[in-house]
Structure formats: C-alpha cells, structure tokens
C-alpha cells in the first residue's frame, strides 16, 4: 500500500466521522422560533425525566413511523411538530401524519384514496373517532396473540389517535383560548372541570417539583392549575409556559424566545441538572448514532464488494477504515445510552439488537486485523448493518430508554448475565455470517484458494469457541439470577431454553469437529444453522407469549423471522450444494 493510498483510505473514515458530527449539530430556528430550545425543556414521562424532544420524536415515531415529515414543501421536525400539536392544534390537525395500511380500516373511516395514499390527518379521523374507539374497545380484551389482523390494526390506530389526543390536551385544552386564559379564569365555574380534563389527559408532566416537595413529584399543567385553584400559589413555571403559548399563537418569535429563556431559568432553579441532562439527550437524539452507524456500515460493505473486482489494494483498507469509523459512531452511541440511562447496555430487545451488532462488529474488526483478507470487514459490516436495521424496526414502539420493571431492576445482573449472553448471540451470528461468506465465495471464486478457505474455517471455529464460552457463562449467570429472584436455578422457561439451545448447538458443532465427523464444509453448514437457533431464541421465544421472560412480546416480527430462517436454510443448502458445483474435489473421509 502506498503512502497516498493509506491516506486516502483513512481520509474516507474521517470523512464518515465528520458526516456523523454534522448530524449532531443543532438545526436553525423555525420561522424565528427557537423550536430546538423548546425541545430541550425537561419533562417527566414514562417514569423518567427526559427532554420534550424525546417525547416529540417517540410520539412521531409511533404515529408516523418516522421522526419527521414533509408538509407543504417543508420538512417538519419533531420539535416544530409538537409545538403545533400543543399550541396550534388547528394547524397540526391538518397534517397527514397517521399512517394507515390496513384496507379494512381505510374502509371503516370511509376515506377516499387521497393522493398521499395511506396518510391521514387527525382532522380526517376526527369524525370517526367514536367508531374507532368502539371497535378498539371490543378488540382490546382479546389477548394480542389472538387478535385478527383488523383487530390488531384498529387497536393500534386507536392507541396512536389517543396519544395524539393526549398531546393536544397536555399544555392547554385544544380549542380553548390557551394557558394564559386558564390562569386568568382560575376561579371560573367550569374551571375545575377543565383542570380535571387537563390532569387526566396529560401525556407528560412539565412542572418541576417545588422546593421541599418529593424530588419525583413533577406535576402536569392540570395538577398545577388545581393546586393554584386550591390556593397553594402559582407554580413559577406556569407563567413562562403561558407566555410561550401566547407568543407561539401570536407568531411573536422574539417573545417566544424570551419566554423560553425565562422557562429555562425557572427549571434550572427548581431542578438543577435536569436541563443539562435533557440537553445531552437532545444531542444524542439529533445525532442518531445508530442510524448514521448503519449507513456507514452499508457504505463500507459496498466499498468492500467493489474491492473484489476493482483496486483491492486501495478499496480494502478504505472499507476497513469506514468500518472503523462506523464502529466509533456505534460505540459512542452505545456509551451515550449507558450514560443517559445509567444502566448497562442491554435493557430491552431494542438495545439487545444494538449491542449484538456492536459485538459482531468489534469481533469482525479483530478478525480482520488477524487475517487481513477483507472477510472480517465484509462480515462485520453486513452484521452491523443488519442488526442495526433490526434495532431501527424494534425502536418504533416508543421510548427505547424505558424504565426497568421491578424484577429486572438490577444493574449487577443486567451488566453480567445480559451482556455475556448477548455477546454469545453476537459470536454465533458472526460465525454464521462468516460461514455464509464462505459458501458464497466457494461458488463465485474462480480459482481454488485453499489458504483462504482454511483461514475462514479457522475464523468461524475460533468464534464458535468464543460464542460457546459466553453463551454458557451467560446462561449459568442467568440461572443464578433466576435462583436469586424466582427461587429456582432452572425452570425450562422458553427464554432459558432458547439460551440453552445456543449452548447445546455450539457444543454439538465443536464436539462433532473434535470427533472428526464434520470437516470444513460441515462445520460451516452447522455454523449457518446457528443463525437460525440464535434468531429463534432471541425473538422466537418471545412470540410464544408464555413464561416469566416474555416481557418483550411482539407479533409483527413473525413473518420477518420466518423469512430469515428460510433464507438461512437456503444458505445451508448453498453451502452443502452438490460437489459438481464446487471447484475442488469432494471431501473423502480419509
């Protein structure tokens, strides 16, 4: 590799990091309003203090499946959207953000196929809300696994519409003259009914706890007004919030920004630290490290594929440096989550996917350093990309930093059992990915390259040993945790069985190899089957809906999982394809 090539290669990596940095930069003002600053305001929702920006993004993800949308030729970001929903519902109600794919539901709401196909605004839905609610209420008592497609879809639509409705009525009652008017007419005859509504519909609590109160006692606007009506004084945050509301409605950007500064002042006196914590989370939200990471992995993978036919001496190191840059972004994202949440990396299915990908990428980087054949890069980039895609799809159900249920609330076990077992998943997947690469290469490569084949098998073998170690230790640690919290070491619960399957399968591969029953190709076929076992024990057992571990239930992923397993069977067949497809002579058992 020449000097220039080396710098070109590393330049690509640095460029990727710069792009990642650009994402983290704050956006400009919206029509002069500091919407990003508004998104910085800390609130309490889902049991933890987070910035409004997180609520906006997660709500938009749930309702719209994306964190932003285009409307009237402009891209509307989450902060601007939530401002409109809360302060100018008449504007937000017209924006077509509800995605409805189910034809029966489109029929139910009597919608004509608009030019935006499946996108509907809250105004479109509003005349059918009663019907939607009625249908959803009949479907809700049915267990999620047993609902029909229509029932699942109507419950889903109702939940989304209700979330939107709650957001609309959190800071002011939609259709009322606003929070300032509420403050003035605190003693009205109907005021207490309105306060009641605001309390019940509040999606989050924005009034920080007053000095001397319980540090978790954040209040919603409704509760603040109730306290005020009861003569307990005006919460200091109510006035700047009312001014924010009025200024936004009156299109007075300067007044809005001034009120925002006052609001921040109130928050930092009442709850020091909350504002900076929220700011950090907003930077994390904006940077979207896992989305950026998966894009970089994708580019790295493409570059590597090109390198096999064009300028390998330049493109292979470039792919490696891109992978390295992706790994840095991925690692920073993971670290940021750990710091923000104050938890070990894996706390739910979403974060397990992020971590599995991370583990596979790090292992792949090490393997590439050892063998320098480009395979480590290819496999790591593909595995990192795939697992982050899975994570993106798992992360559409709301806050991915949700609070841990009582039994899981143990940082020690989350850090030991959960992390080791997830590293075991990473290893098994990486070995499977290498085996797939081996199979494809065998069919495509024009010349026999025994050395590369052997290197690939060695890689896979080493990684299987590694995976067996981690999955065994992780399983036993899980048993010990179970003994500590449920009173038995082993209960044959589906999730436990899943972990055991991975241990057993890796043990079978190794024993079959040690005994000489399988050679190169056999080991590789078995390694691909390891992908199926791991996917099933990771996601499949959650779909059974039984057992103590089924806290991560999901139904939509069933077909994705089936597809994945089928694809792996195809790869196994390719790997095991008849000898005439193979350049080299078939193995004899000599």
């Amino acid at each position: 590799m020449t000097f220039v090539q080396k710098y070109l290669a590393w330049g690509a990596g640095i460029l990727a990091l710069l792009v990642a940095l650009i994402f983290a930069m704050p956006g400009g003002k919206v029509r002069g309003f500091d919407a990003a600053g508004f998104g910085n305001i800390p609130i309490l929702e889902g049991g933890r203090v987070k910035p409004l920006d997180s609520v906006a993004r997660n709500s938009l993800l749930i309702i719209h499946s994306r964190q932003g949308f285009r409307y009237e030729g402009r891209t509307i970001g989450p902060d601007e959207w939530i401002l409109d929903v809360m302060f100018r519902p008449q504007v937000a109600d017209q924006q077509p953000i509800f995605v409805i794919d189910d034809p029966d539901i489109i029929g139910l709401i009597g919608a004509k196929q608009t030019k935006n196909r499946n996108y509907f605004s809250f105004a479109d839905l509003s005349s059918h809300l009663e019907e939607i609610q009625k249908q959803a209420q009949t479907a809700q008592p049915i267990a999620p696994q047993k609902r029909t497609r229509f029932q699942s879809a109507i419950v889903n639509l109702f939940d989304r519409a209700f979330l939107y409705y709650k957001l609309r009525n959190t800071l002011q009652l939609a259709g009322s003259p606003g929070l300032g008017w509420e403050l003035q007419s605190i003693g009205d005859a109907e005021a207490s009914a309105r306060h009641q509504d605001l309390t019940q519909l509040a999606h989050f609590r924005i009034l920080p706890p007053l000095p001397g109160a319980n540090p978790d006692a954040w209040k919603s606007i409704g509760e603040g007004l109730q306290a005020m009506a009861a003569g307990q004084g005006t919460h200091p945050a109510l006035v700047p919030l009312a001014r924010l509301n009025a200024a936004y409605v009156a299109n007075d950007a300067a007044g809005f920004n001034q009120a925002l500064a006052d609001m921040n002042g109130v928050v930092s006196t009442l709850k020091p630290g909350a504002l900076s914590h929220a700011t950090n989370e907003v930077i994390f939200n904006r940077a979207q490290p896992f989305f950026v990471g998966l894009s970089i992995y994708f580019v790295a993978f493409l570059v590597l594929c090109v390198s096999w036919i064009y300028k390998p001496e330049l493109l292979q190191p470039t792919a490696y440096s891109l992978l390295f840059a992706g790994a840095i972004v991925h690692t920073l994202g993971l670290a940021a989550r750990i710091i923000l949440q104050g938890r070990p990396p894996v706390t739910n299915l979403y974060s397990s996917a992020v971590f599995v990908g991370w583990g596979a990428v790090i292992l792949g980087l090490i393997v590439e350093r050892m063998y320098r054949k480009g395979f480590g890069t290819a496999v790591a980039a593909a595995a990192g990309f795939a697992s982050l895609i899975v994570a993106q799809n798992l992360g559409t159900e709301g806050d991915t930093m949700e609070m841990m249920r009582a039994v899981l609330d143990s940082n020690f076990w989350l850090a030991t059992h959960v992390v080791t077992i997830t590293i075991g998943y990473s290893g098994t997947f990486l070995a499977g990915a290498i085996a797939i690469g081996y199979a494809i290469r065998k069919h495509i490569a024009t010349k026999v390259d025994v050395e590369t084949d052997k290197a690939l098998v060695d890689m896979a073998y080493g990684i299987i040993c590694f995976a067996l170690f981690f999955s065994f230790v992780g399983t036993v640690l899980g048993g010990i945790w179970a003994d500590q919290s449920w009173g038995r070491f082993w209960g044959w619960d589906p999730k436990e069985n899943g972990a055991l399957m991975i241990v057993l399968w890796n043990a079978i591969i190794l024993h079959a190899r040690w005994a000489g029953y399988v050679r190169e190709r056999g080991t590789m076929v078995m390694a691909i089957f390891g992908n199926i076992i791991t996917a099933l024990s990771w996601f499949g057992v959650n779909m059974l809906g039984v057992g103590l571990h089924s806290y991560g239930f999901m139904d939509q992923a069933f077909w994705a999982l089936t597809g994945f397993c089928l694809s792996q069977l195809v790869f196994m067949a390719i790997c095991y394809a008849p000898a005439r497809f193979w350049e080299q002579k078939p193995h004899t058992r000599a």
Binding site: S410, V476, Q484, R488
Partner: protein, 386 residues
C-alpha cells in the same frame, strides 16, 4: 465374554457419537418442551418432557400411554454417564486439567437438575398486612380439611390430601372417632345452582343438596386452578352424618357436631404447617413516578420461631429472597389493593450445586485457555528460533 461386553459398553459410553446424539436429543426435547408450554403450561410441559424418563403419548386405540421419545431424565442420565466416562477417559495430565474441571462441573450441573427435578418442592405463602401465617400452601394440590373447631382458641386440623381422596373408600381420621366415606371425587369440576328438574344431588347435608356438579377435564396451565370437589360421608360411632359436598368453589366451611365436638369440612389448597410463623408488617408496591410500571415490591415480615427463641424483622424484596430453615421465600405476587403479599416458597436441597458447578466450569475454562495460550506462545517462540 464379560470383559468384552464391559469394554464395549465402556467404549460406547465414552464415545463422541453418544455425546452428539444425546446433545441432539436434548435439543429436540428442549424445542418440544418449549412449544408444548403454550398448551400445557410450563409445569405440565416440564413434567412431560424434562422430568420424565420417557415422553409418553396416549393413542386412542390403546388403553395406556406408550413411550414415543426418550425423556429428559433418560437423556440427562445417559449424558451424565457419558460425561463421567469422558471425564475419566481424558488423559490425567496437566495439559487436560482444564477440560477435567469443565466436565466435572457439568456433571455437578446435571446432578443439580436431577436433585431439583426429584426433590424440589414449590409452594407459596399469601399473607395480608397484619396477618400471621404459619403454613405454606401448594399451587395445585388440594386437601380436604377436617377441623375440630370446638375450642375457639385452638383449631385441631386433620387433612386428607387429594391423592388419597382420588382412591376413594373409607378413610379413618386419626385422632378422631370419625371415618370419612369418599363417595365420589372430582379432580376438576364446575358447580352451579341446582335448577328444578335436574337430577338430585348426591349430597344430603350442608349446602350440597342445592348444588349441581359437572366433572371437567383437569387443567395443567400455570394460571388455571382445578376446582376439586368431593362427596364425603362422615361416619362416627356407627352413625352417619349425611353426605356432604366439599369443593374449592365453596368458600365457607360446613360443620357437623359429634359428641359435643364440632368439626368443619372444607376443600382447600394443600397446606404444610411450619414450626415458625410470618407476620406481614408492611407491603410496598412502588411505581415509577407518573406511571404504572412497577419499580419495586417488598414485604416487611416479622419471623417468629419459638423453637429457636427467634423473633426478627426481615425485608423480602425483588432479587433479595429470605433463605430460612431450608426454604427460600421470594417476593412473587400481590393482590387485594396492595394489602396482600404472595411469597413463593421453594425447598430445594440441591440449590448450591449449580453455584459449585459454575465455579468449576469457569475455573476449568480459564485454566484451559491459559494452557492453550502457553502452548501457542511456545510454538511461536519455537518458530522464531528455528
């Protein structure tokens, strides 16, 4: 002849084929057991597939179930033998010390699961705040309790477990003049009010005559409970006190009086009385602020053990059980608006074995890796020198 047979068995037991076949069988069992849990509940599936020597299947044409697949017990036993044979067979050199430790650890792990399968007893204890409880009760098994309630300060409890009830016949109650004639036992049943026109009940006394009963297939699902019911005729001093219906569905005990002593009859979950008692002083159910997500459950319990002259407070909470007198008490559930705490109680004499195994296997793997690392470093060194 004997020698060759023995050596053949030995070769068979220590073979890799056996290891792989057994591991594969175990995998199949694990898959089957996991899938069966949807229908049978965890406990039912585990008993059918894992804690049995053969998986049996009932065919309609045959009067008895026939084994169709080796069960977890058999596979586990063979795997243990295979492991022991392998462990003994591994050359006793320092080079193999790590593998030795790993396999010895695995043997202990299997032994632990055997002990758990054979001897583990799962029960629970429900206490309301302020209540004192000195027994644990079964999750599924039932008993017919005959309680001498004559003395208001002291209940003398005699109980007949469901296994005995299902055999039927006459059951003398030791310590009392009473003999119970079991007329009919229903492992699971459904009770309803006897409507006019329905055939009369077998019962002649108590609330029974007004109740119609239908037999139901027993349920094994974890969150379903069988409604056991029984028709019994207490006989004492040659006199019958009528036929009574006792059922899990009938809450209030029914009583009769014999020679000045009053006995009550009731079906309930099988109880085991303890030589100590727990009083629930406080139950906490904390949630994260502004949500219903549980953050912590804890029970503050006063443990009173007269035989040890012990009386102390214990806080049982998530991931922090109380191990006491061979039983372990875990915070499991709650109810009645957070005034009822349910502790699950496990008695497993082998609970330490997995811990021992874990230490051995981890140590073994570390030793093995150290040896392999040393070997490969040495090889590299030799290469350099050559």
């Amino acid at each position: 002849m004997i020698k060759t047979l023995a050596s053949r068995i030995w070769t068979f037991l220590k073979s890799f084929q056996l290891t792989i076949v057994l591991l594969a069988l175990l995998m199949c069992l694990v898959v089957l057991c996991t899938l069966a849990q949807v229908e049978m509940g965890t406990q039912g599936a585990v008993n059918a597939y894992m804690r049995s020597f053969f998986v049996k299947k009932q065919f309609a044409a045959l009067p008895f179930a026939i084994p169709v697949f080796p069960g977890g017990g058999l596979v586990g036993l063979l795997l243990t033998l295979n492991l022991i044979a392998k462990t003994l067979d591994i050359q006793r050199t320092w080079q193999k010390a790590g593998m030795w430790l790993v396999h010895a650890g695995l043997v202990i792990l299997f032994a632990g699961e055997f002990v758990a399968g054979m001897m583990q007893v799962d029960t629970n204890m429900s206490i309301e705040v302020g209540q004192t409880v000195n027994y644990v009760q079964s999750y599924k098994n039932m008993e017919l309790a005959v309680i001498d309630v004559t003395d208001p300060a002291w209940d003398e409890v005699y109980s007949v477990p469901d296994t005995l009830l299902s055999r039927g016949g006459a059951i003398p109650i030791p310590g009392t003049p009473i003999t119970l004639n079991v007329k009919r036992y229903f492992p699971n049943s459904e009770l309803s009010n006897l409507a006019p026109g329905m055939p009369p009940s077998m019962a002649t006394a108590g609330v029974g005559p007004g109740i119609a009963i239908v037999e139901r297939p027993t349920v094994t699902n974890d969150n379903e409970l069988n409604t056991g019911s029984v028709f019994v005729e207490p006989v004492a001093g040659g006199r019958s006190y009528g036929t009574w219906l006792a059922s899990m569905a009938i809450g209030a005990p029914q009583s009769f009086t014999h020679e000045g002593r009053t006995y009550s009859l009731s079906m309930r979950l099988l109880r085991q009385y303890l030589p100590y008692s727990f009083t629930l002083k406080q139950f906490r159910h904390d949630v994260y602020p502004g949500t219903q997500i549980p953050k912590n459950f804890s029970s503050l319990v006063q443990v009173v053990n007269p035989s040890q002259k012990e009386s102390r407070e214990v806080l049982i909470y998530m991931n922090q059980p109380l191990r006491y007198e061979g039983k372990t008490f875990y915070q499991a559930s709650f109810g009645k608006n957070d005034t009822l705490s349910v502790l699950s109680v496990v008695e497993n004499p082998g609970w330490l074995l997995p811990y021992v195994s874990c230490v051995l296997v981890s140590l073994g793997l570390l030793v093995h890796f150290a040896i392999v690392l040393r070997r490969s470093l040495k090889r590299r060194q030799d290469k350099k020198e050559a």
